[in-house]
Symmetry: C2
Subunit: 217 residues, 2 copies
């Protein structure tokens, strides 16, 4: 590795879409429910989707200590993490100028195991609360065995960039009068009614923190 580390997260294509503001980066990391982790194994690139959570200045990954990805990252291999939120389809008059509206973050770094029990518990709470705020106070907390059986790795957010596109299509001036509809189809992720587990005993109701966010089921 001889290049500048900046080469791995600087936004060069459409540089005007880039941001290095932590508040912007954090908002995208927090809204995204999963990330895609890239690493190098035996000289080959590998990409794996997984859930992440941001805890302060760190992106945390977790899983079984037997996971190939976590073993390789724990060993100090550099990794890259991408998250993407798709906000819309951008229909230009010309095929060439079709695009998408999105907010993405790319992060580059090296992972460190989170072994300190307090920090590890905080990260576990972070994962649970990311899936559903309020859940940590309701679900059964990890047993000693589950706690030990979870590997947590933290990657510092210090080599990261956000890239975003929003707004209408950018058409060529000579295309503006074409009789072709142009605009944006907004996209968003929505939740359906909660589906109870088939083995849920009668009388266990949808909790308030869930109903508030997702309705009654």
């Amino acid at each position: 590795m001889t290049g500048r580390v900046e080469d791995f997260f600087e936004v060069r294509r459409h540089a005007e879409r880039g941001s290095y503001e932590r508040s912007v980066i954090d908002a995208v990391l927090d809204e995204a429910m999963y990330c895609t982790v890239g690493f190098v194994d035996d000289d080959r690139p590998v990409v794996i989707p997984t859930i992440h959570v941001r805890v302060g200045d760190t992106v945390v990954l977790h899983g079984s200590p037997a996971s190939r990805m976590l073993r390789i990252l724990k060993g100090g291999a550099p990794c890259a993490i991408a998250v993407t939120l798709l906000d819309g389809l951008v229909l230009a008059r010309s095929v060439f100028n079709h695009s998408m509206n999105y907010r993405s973050v790319v992060l580059f770094g090296t992972a460190t195991p989170i072994d300190d029990p307090e920090r590890k518990l905080e990260a576990m709470r972070g994962f649970t609360e990311k899936i559903l705020p309020g859940r940590w106070g309701d679900a059964r907390v990890p047993s000693e065995k589950e706690f030990r059986g979870t590997l947590m790795l933290g990657i510092p957010i210090d080599a990261a960039s956000a890239k975003m596109r929003s707004g209408p299509p950018s058409d060529e001036p000579e295309d503006l009068t074409l009789p072709v509809w142009a605009g944006v189809i907004p996209l968003r992720t929505v939740a359906g009614a909660p589906v109870p587990s088939p083995d849920l005993p009668p009388g266990v109701e949808v909790p308030d923190y869930l109903r508030r966010q997702f309705g009654d089921g």
Copy 2:
């Protein structure tokens, strides 16, 4: 690179969630609106989200010939491609067994430029029709300059796997009687009403192929 190529797409963690069926792989590739591409640059892993389209047995990426990613891939560097569809949040009784329902594909390979004009045009049509079926027959087709200014790279789908989780949470037997709601919150991506470009001349209506899929705006 000394390992088996299979090592880079075989599903090992939760092998029961894996599939190597082309119909399964193709369905996930086709439904996903973007992918995350991983490659190695100066010994470092890089991940970049981008739109892809499947044309037959090939995943196609495209963009400016000046793109770092496309230049590196065109040079024969191996790449890995991940797509992920998030289908639901899985709420188990225990924090430890929380999960997500998803369908993902990981693909490993080497890109080849698509220079043949007929194949290149077919891929362009594929990208446009992926954004919105019917769009190719309406939007202005690429000019000679736009056509030449687009680099298309194809990666064969011959080293790929799908990985999926669906259904209710898997709780420990001793947790089943806990008074904790368990189940799935289904997630899906939905489109809002089309937003016309502010510079759209009066009288250009939302076309039928758009209205059929996304409503009136």
